[in-house]
């Protein structure tokens, strides 16, 4: 074994020369900005600039302020806005309720087989992709589809579901449930389950324990999740067009028709700003209620 002194001599010559600039333990702001430059460029150029330009264009292009009066004066656009908002509220309620139940079962279920099936159910819409899952819903709810076969079998009779706002709600719920499950799964997994056993050991019934322990603890996460589901639902494009068809009024269809068929960019931008304002307001309220941290976590 070489002596202490020998190894020192071996080690020292390879040390770099003493640096000219003093070392700083944290990465300097300039270096950090260089690393962030691509992200900042993309965000500024293709996220913030488009949204700001959209707002400005909606006030200045084509008919100026009349873009907005057109949007609100037009009875069919008003109906589309109304339908979109109501449908999104219903979608949010159903999605969060189903998502919460699925997520809670995924967290608590003991049987690996049941858990695997539940995960498969949650992931199936995810794996299908945006367009295909709407196609699957078309097959499911069409006049001769499985759902109508079932309805006929139980004596309700065949219903026209496809190309109604009901079909759109089903389609968006089908698309959004996996997202709600993912974010709520994180919320529930972070809750100590022994709290529920503790409540039940003190005499609470299962439902009392869920209501007094689980619900308050999960509420902020659920609020964040609901706000996101709503904001995303409002902007759904593929589902209203494919499942709603030409006759069911949704904002996405109105916007699409105006921009791609009538080339009325001013009208489309004003209608888009209305959607953005609604979504931003809901997200803003959620932000106030539960904080940025939780909201960002609900996205991821």
């Amino acid at each position: 074994m070489p002596t202490h002194a020998q190894t020192i001599r071996r080690a020292l010559p390879s040390l770099r020369r003493e640096g000219a600039r003093p070392w700083s333990p944290t990465v300097g702001n300039v270096k950090a900005l260089i690393l962030l430059a691509p992200l900042v460029a993309l965000l500024v150029g293709f996220v913030f600039y488009p949204l700001v330009k959209l707002a400005i264009d909606s006030l200045t292009s084509d008919h100026g302020l009349r873009n907005y009066s057109d949007v609100f004066a037009n009875a069919s656009t008003r109906r589309a806005l109304y339908t979109t908002l109501i449908a999104s509220v219903i979608v949010t309620a159903i999605t969060v309720a189903i998502g919460a139940m699925l997520a809670w079962h995924l967290v608590t279920v003991r049987s690996p087989a049941v858990r695997a099936v539940l995960w498969l159910a949650v992931l199936a819409p995810f794996w299908m992709g945006t367009v295909v899952k709407n196609y699957a819903i078309i097959l499911f709810v069409s006049h001769d589809g499985l759902l109508n076969d079932l309805l006929a079998a139980v004596g309700i009779g065949r219903q026209q579901i496809l190309y109604t706002s009901g079909a759109v709600v089903i389609g968006i719920v089908y698309s959004m449930v996996p997202y709600a499950v993912f974010s709520l799964y994180g919320v529930f997994a972070g809750i100590d389950q022994s709290l529920l056993s503790a409540a039940q050991s003190m005499g609470a019934s299962r439902i009392q324990a869920l209501r007094t322990i689980l619900v308050p603890l999960a509420m902020p996460g659920a609020v964040a999740s609901a706000a996101l589901v709503f904001a995303i639902s409002v902007g759904f494009y593929v589902t209203p067009v494919l499942l709603g068809g030409g006759q069911t009024p949704f904002m996405a269809s109105v916007i699409q028709a105006n921009i791609l068929t009538y080339y009325d960019y001013g009208f489309a931008s004003a209608a888009s700003v209305v959607l953005l304002v609604v979504a931003t307001a809901i997200l803003g309220i959620a932000l106030r209620l539960v904080g940025r941290e939780r909201l960002v976590r609900a996205v991821a």
Partner: protein, 282 residues
């Protein structure tokens, strides 16, 4: 013996309440179980339906099918339009994923290792494109693309897909980075590594599974993109989702079931790979 009688009454009362509670608990579990079962079935049935119908041998859509076979797959592989659409989707997704990685990974380092003001706000802003109403955002992009002459161009579509894809890598890599102790870098630097070398040799090396997982998710996001393409693609740029969209919109072509089944298989394999990668990274 009055006190004993009282005690018996109390015990009986407690037993009754106990029984009621057990009953209500069982009802709660049963009710919850039923709802979850129905929900799971409703989620699974449409997917199963697509797969089942892809093996229908009927020329036109029938439910239930009159005959079974691989006719749909045969039609799919012999018509050129689908191949072109898939190729364009890949041609857009690959550069979008590469750009996304180059944007997200350095940003994650800067956000986690510097004291730049607003760095956390920037991180939150990174997921904006995931939460804005997409049809409104598409109109906004339309306005900018008209201005920059990017409408209906390949470059424009790569940019549009990058905007939607990079948050996947940003989110997954950030989560992974928070699980890597900064002490590893410090240990490397004390042992003689420069900061760059410690980043590359230790932290980046340990982040690779997460970055790959994020890249797979980003690829799926781009490959599946169906909204921007409608607004920004124009008639000449037909990606796979756009082709399927148009086909579904103008009628129920049973070939779609075959595409859908293959797509499902493809996506699920990719997602399982991503999941695997994220696990190994932990």
């Amino acid at each position: 013996m009055a006190p004993l009688h009282d005690r018996n009454a109390v015990t009986a009362d407690r037993n009754r309440r106990e029984r009621m509670r057990h009953l209500s608990d069982r009802a709660t579990r049963l009710g919850g179980g039923t709802v979850v079962t129905i929900a799971a079935l409703l989620l699974l049935i449409p997917a199963a339906l697509v797969v089942a119908l892809s093996f229908s041998n009927d020329k036109y859509f029938n439910f239930p099918p009159r005959s079974w076979g691989t006719r749909q797959y045969h039609t799919l592989f012999t018509s050129p339009q689908w191949g072109d659409a898939i190729w364009l989707s890949v041609k857009i997704a690959v550069p979008a994923v590469v750009l996304s990685t180059l944007i997200a990974v350095p940003a994650v380092f800067a956000i986690n290792r510097s004291r730049l003001p607003l760095r956390h706000a920037l991180q939150a802003a990174g997921v904006t494109s995931l939460i804005v109403p997409l049809s409104a955002y598409a109109v906004a992009m339309y306005g900018v693309f008209v201005q920059l002459h990017l409408l209906a161009t390949y470059l424009g579509l790569v940019i549009a897909n990058t905007v939607l894809a990079f948050p996947m890598i940003l989110v997954v890599t950030t989560a992974a980075m928070s699980r890597i102790p900064v002490e590893l870098e410090l240990a490397a630097m004390t042992a003689g590594a420069s900061r760059l070398r410690a980043w590359a040799g230790i932290t980046l090396r340990l982040l690779i599974p997460a970055i790959l997982a994020g890249a797979v998710l980003a690829f799926i996001t781009s490959f599946d993109e169906a909204v921007f393409i409608n607004f920004l693609g124009g008639p000449g740029q037909v990606t796979l989702p756009k082709a399927v969209f148009d086909s579904v919109r103008f009628g129920v072509d049973p070939v779609i079931t075959a595409i859908a089944t293959l797509l499902m298989l493809f996506t699920s394999v990719l997602m399982l790979i991503a999941l695997r990668l994220r696990r190994t990274g932990q």
